[in-house]
Symmetry: C2
Subunit: 209 residues, 2 copies
């Protein structure tokens, strides 16, 4: 396969190869970040000749932008699935998200973090268009959690009088930090503490059970 000239592949195969490259980037960038990851590493895993990489993407930067967009869509869909699940109350949906995220971090042995957290830390050495794209993704997450908090308020589930946008922005800061701390401690305890106290102290459920 590595010897196949990529342009000779059928459109379906080309799309699959491109998608595979993006998926590989998502895995590697959430583990190691962008700057340290070499194209050699990516093409070796994807079994694509290095020269053919440029058949799919203009540059490593162009590739990384696609990886960020892809991660943004994947995570946005995941949030939508959890936070719009009408089988549960809005507060239960938020709890569910924090629980699913803990399972995810454990599943990958605390090796994979959040792509936004990883690339955000590298910001000083990344191009401005990365920052804008990462912020776009993050803004979508904030909006989704803000909307869910509004629903919990409307349903009379929580007592907080704090503005929902502030609560959501606070949540995402604390949550990104919790994922970082989980990697540092090799434990989900920081995510447990943040999830629990965010709900009990910031949202203040009417029914404490």
């Amino acid at each position: 396969m590595t010897k196949v000239v990529q342009s000779a592949l059928r459109p379906k195969e080309r799309n699959e190869k491109r998608a595979a490259l993006i998926n590989i980037g998502t895995v590697i960038f959430t583990q190691k970040g962008f700057s340290i990851t070499s194209l050699d590493e990516i093409v070796a895993i994807a079994e694509v000749p290095k020269g053919s990489f440029y058949y799919y993407f203009k540059s490593k930067d162009d590739y990384a932008m696609e990886v960020i967009k892809n991660y943004g869509i994947y995570f946005s869909n995941k949030l939508q699935r959890i936070l719009n699940n009408t089988n549960k109350s809005p507060l239960e949906r938020l709890k569910n998200f924090t629980q699913e995220a803990q399972k995810g971090v454990e599943r990958y042995n605390f090796k994979r973090g959040c792509l936004i957290g990883n690339l955000g830390q590298e910001m000083a050495s990344l191009e401005e268009n990365f920052r804008v794209e990462l912020l776009n993704v993050f803004t979508d997450w904030r909006t989704q959690v803000k909307n869910c908090i509004d629903l919990a308020k409307l349903a009379g589930e929580i007592k907080t009088k704090v503005d929902s946008t502030d609560l959501s922005n606070f949540f995402w800061c604390a949550w990104e930090g919790a994922v970082l701390c989980a990697k540092l401690e090799l434990s989900t305890q920081p995510m447990k503490t943040v999830g629990k106290l965010f709900i009990s102290e910031l949202l203040q459920p009417v029914n404490k059970n």
Copy 2:
């Protein structure tokens, strides 16, 4: 200077050169992280011939451990200065810390983050002894904030009934996340939101002014 054989330097000069190398590492690692930073870059800024680097440090890893320790001491002293300032109440000291940190992030145009945050994100590609050392540093910060929260409770300044260790651990997750988000937004707003809501909702001051 670059041509001087380092072993020919006097002990005072040697110590100064070693300290300069550590300071350079602190600046670069808080901006770019560890993995992407090359020794070439460090020795060029320090004006030390690359071969002489090994006169001061066994390896890049050994060097990075010294940088982490040095950052730990620097930041620990800064926290002690602010959180043990008996001219202010314990709660005022915590507020002061968050305000000073905002000024620091602005001063460096949102380019420098927290060394623990940056290296913590790289954890998957770092050696286990890095993780242990970063966690040691972080544990010291958590203990200092925990002690200050205990003092605020003792002084009757805050109403929270939540365990001080949990509050401090929560604070540091949220704060690391806030520093990350400040870099992403090029704004201190996330740090303002986290500082404000942590105090009003988690600590719950008796006197709200």
